[in-house]
């Protein structure tokens, strides 16, 4: 398969009605219809895009199988776009035979069919302070990369991407585009211009992009949930660390950009840190001083 050199991306920054899965799908469909005139190759929606994030026990009422979610998402896209081909990414709460995950799916949609390319189950479940995920959900335990028509990619859900090693491992495994659906309750009111937590996300993912020479697509949920405001601010950062576009914090909106994927190779030629890392990482991970289990399961 020859990889495309250009990737037209749209982020649909949603402000879902809490728990209203069907109504939120319809709202996503309205946004998809807006995109139909200049259809993107890839549409990305945030974490918990069709339900809202803070669900507590309601997660058991709203979680769906990956297959059902892919079917719903694809049908919504097909109807809104007039049956165009596209790749869709969105976060959802997954029910896998009674085990519940905070997941994101990458779905390839054709005019008459869809295919789940990858499902990533959030590995790092924040369970401190305002967060309570592991009380209700199970951890994903695998960071997979997957092939698309636009090259190898990886998905990380929210806190997964706060750990530098997640992006590092994805990049070492060959991901050239990192997609991060997120739901980040905002805090920090002392700095100029924006909440501190928005700056922190941008700083974290800019560093990942620069270090590894990758594109990062961050899709942030927006809207207030019981006083906790999700910070939206969806953005795309290129392999040199430039922010190509960034959405406002508190409004539902669409973010669009055309990515020149050849920038990845150019950036890596200028700053070949990923190659250095790939060479040395095995030695670092085999360090007996690291607190890791040895000898396999």
């Amino acid at each position: 398969m020859t990889e495309a050199a250009a990737l037209r991306v749209a982020i649909v920054q949603t402000k879902p009605d809490k728990g209203e899965y069907r109504a939120n799908l319809r709202s996503a469909g309205e946004a998809f219809a807006q995109l139909a005139a200049e259809p993107p190759n890839l549409v990305v929606l945030p974490e918990a895009s069709m339900t809202g994030y803070f669900l507590e026990g309601a997660v058991y009422e709203l979680a769906v199988t990956a297959q059902a979610f892919a079917r719903d998402l694809a049908a919504t896209w097909r109807e809104a776009s007039g049956g165009q081909t596209a790749d869709l990414v969105a976060g959802f709460f997954e029910n896998d035979n009674g085990t519940y995950y905070n997941s994101a799916a990458y779905v390839h949609v054709e005019p008459r069919d869809e295919r789940i390319v990858h499902v990533h189950r959030k590995m790092f479940l924040p369970t401190y302070g305002v967060f309570d995920e592991e009380r209700f959900l199970s951890r994903g335990r695998h960071l997979g990369v997957f092939e698309t028509a636009f090259g190898r990619m990886a998905l990380l859900v929210c806190e997964d991407a706060c750990h530098a090693i997640s992006a590092t491992l994805a990049a070492v495994k060959g991901a050239r585009v990192l997609i991060v659906p997120s739901a980040s309750p905002g805090r920090g009111i002392e700095a100029e211009g924006e909440l501190a937590s928005i700056t922190q996300w941008r700083d974290t993912l800019r560093l990942a992009a620069i270090e590894h020479g990758i594109f990062v697509i961050y899709a942030g949920l927006t809207g207030f949930e019981g006083g906790k405001g999700m910070t939206g601010s969806s953005f795309i950062v290129d392999p040199r660390g430039s922010i190509l576009v960034q959405a406002p914090a508190t409004e539902a909106c669409i973010v669009r950009a055309d990515l020149d994927l050849r920038e990845i190779d150019r950036a890596r030629a200028t700053l070949p840190l990923l190659g250095d890392l790939a060479a040395v990482l095995p030695n670092l991970l085999l360090d007996p001083e690291l607190p890791l289990p040895r000898g396999g399961p």
Partner: protein, 283 residues
């Protein structure tokens, strides 16, 4: 050659700051989402006391909902300071919000005349709870939502009447310390007399919050911030706070956790509400 030494400046004993523009925008977005989008009630009622907290809340609501959709309810008691009414009027004038004045003296005295032994504290609580009753009734009258005006300092110190000042279902300033409310007030254009005057619950003659509390708000806020960040008393003393003022603040916080919760309910099942049966407020 002697090299210059570069090191961090010593930690300041100051309360946390805020960027007022960022904060105001965030709180306006909060009010719009919470009232218009989620609850579908695009009108607000606010108990306008003449103090800085309710003034800031009124300014934020006027920005978020439009002044025509904000009802200020002034609720004087016969012993209330006259300046409370006139200061509240300055806010109404500056924002263009609607204003209603309802004297609570008859309602309060109607009950208290049967309670001649009620001291200042009980009388103050009856006034505060009567204001809550009026505010909620006015919210029904105007098809509007009551908006809370309690700040983080008074919530942490327990310096409020339970199920009265804290009763409104939505509060934009409850995570702001008093000193942050003052900064926000200056940015929003709250009339200067309200910012400059000594804060008072105005439940008794010549009452001031800081005399009641035994510590200034600025000092209390700095200690509260350290306390909430997990600093021990010893670490705070190292930073220059006095043992007595730390103890005063810690005692108030530790003795009022119950005021920041719903009533304690005996749990008898594995479906107990808010213990096992957990659903978010906006579900």
């Amino acid at each position: 050659m002697t090299l210059p030494i570069v090191e961090p400046s010593a930690a300041l004993l100051e309360p946390p700051g805020l960027n007022p523009a960022v904060t105001a925008d965030w709180l306006v977005a909060f009010l719009r989402d919470e009232l218009i989008l989620r609850r579908k009630i695009p009108r607000a009622v606010i108990g306008l006391s003449g103090g800085v907290d309710s003034a800031v809340t009124a300014f934020l609501c006027a920005r978020a909902l439009g002044p025509e959709n904000v009802y200020a309810i002034r609720m004087p008691y016969r012993s209330s300071n006259r300046s409370s009414l006139t200061d509240a009027a300055l806010v109404v004038e500056a924002t263009g919000i609607q204003c209603v004045t309802i004297d609570i003296s008859a309602a309060v005295d109607g009950y208290l005349q049967s309670q001649p032994d009620a001291g200042a504290r009980r009388r103050g609580n009856v006034m505060a709870r009567t204001r809550m009753v009026v505010l909620f009734d006015q919210s029904a009258k105007f098809d509007a939502l009551p908006i809370g005006t309690g700040n983080k300092t008074e919530r942490l110190l327990g310096y409020f009447t339970w199920h009265a000042d804290d009763a409104p279902p939505v509060n934009p300033i409850g995570d702001l310390f008093k000193s942050q409310v003052w900064t926000l007030a200056r940015y929003l254009g709250v009339p200067k007399p309200l910012i400059d005057k000594a804060p008072s619950a105005d439940l008794e003659a010549d009452q001031t919050d800081e005399a009641d509390l035994g510590i200034s708000y600025v000092r209390a806020d700095a200690i509260l911030e350290c306390l909430l960040q997990g600093y021990s008393d010893a670490a705070m003393i190292e930073r220059g706070f006095k043992k007595e003022e730390i103890e005063l603040v810690r005692r108030r916080v530790d003795s009022t956790h119950w005021k920041r919760h719903l009533p304690t309910t005996a749990m008898l099942s594995n479906t107990a509400i808010n213990e096992f049966y957990l659903r978010p407020v906006d579900y």
